[in-house]
Symmetry: C2
Subunit: 151 residues, 2 copies
């Protein structure tokens, strides 16, 4: 049996998720890629920075936009270990990201395939290509381990 | 006939929206209030800062959380001149804001009473008290003037 290899940007996002857990943040990592290069990356920082908006996706998008000096990331791809919430899905649409690849599903907090289903709304002004389940097992295991350790 | 006066924080949010227009940003302003004091405020800054997440609400929430040194704004109220989009509604839920007061409705981009209806989702972990239509005419006029001037 051949297992399709996890793309390098998702491996990096998983690494970032592990770094988040090590500093007491919910282990989610995100990477923005343009032309094969990482132009922005990050992990959850809500506790460290006292910023309720500092989810991995928002951190990576802000850093990528700053690095590229542009508000829109039309030719960029976002890799994130967990299904984005409504806030992050909205940010992905505003940033005009071309593709979104994520790992684990999040029935409780996700806003892509669950709940607000931001990209499925008629009024959504930009829908990225969405691929899910990439690095899913590793992403979910990181989250399980983190929350089990806090009980 | 007595017209109910617009609350001071909304007057300040409208003032901030005017400042946004003056620097070429979509005129939306937001103010976070705690115990009658403004603890964070801002207007759209997406163009100025090349940050697709820099909507007025996100700017005001981040500043308030930083000023108070806390991730959650449970005892705070947010005043914003326009119905928040899905991204901002998600941020409001994450920040655990007690109340949301907004001005104009936004059928095309709003995520509270339209589209994603973030707070109406079963999975939404925090719902603020929502009051709409406060300062509505002034907020809508600022937006109309801005977009008419760009045509």
């Amino acid at each position: 049996m051949t297992r399709w290899p996890t793309p390098l940007p998702m491996l990096r996002a998983l690494e970032l998720a592990g770094e988040a857990a090590a500093v007491g943040e919910v282990p989610v990592g995100a990477v923005v890629v343009k032309g094969g290069e990482i132009v922005g990356e990050g992990h959850n920082l809500t506790r460290t920075t006292n910023d309720p908006t500092a989810h991995a996706e928002i951190v990576a998008i802000r850093r990528a936009a700053e690095a590229l000096g542009q508000e829109r990331l039309e030719d960029c791809a976002l890799f994130v270990t967990l299904e984005p919430c409504a806030m992050c899905a909205g940010a992905i649409a505003h940033a005009r990201l071309a593709t979104l690849t994520y790992g684990a599903n999040d029935p409780k907090g996700g806003g892509v395939e669950h709940g607000a289903r931001v990209f499925a709304q008629a009024q959504c002004h930009h829908r990225p290509e969405v691929v899910s389940g990439v690095g899913e097992a590793e992403a979910a295991e990181l989250l399980r381990g983190f929350f089990a350790g806090r009980r």
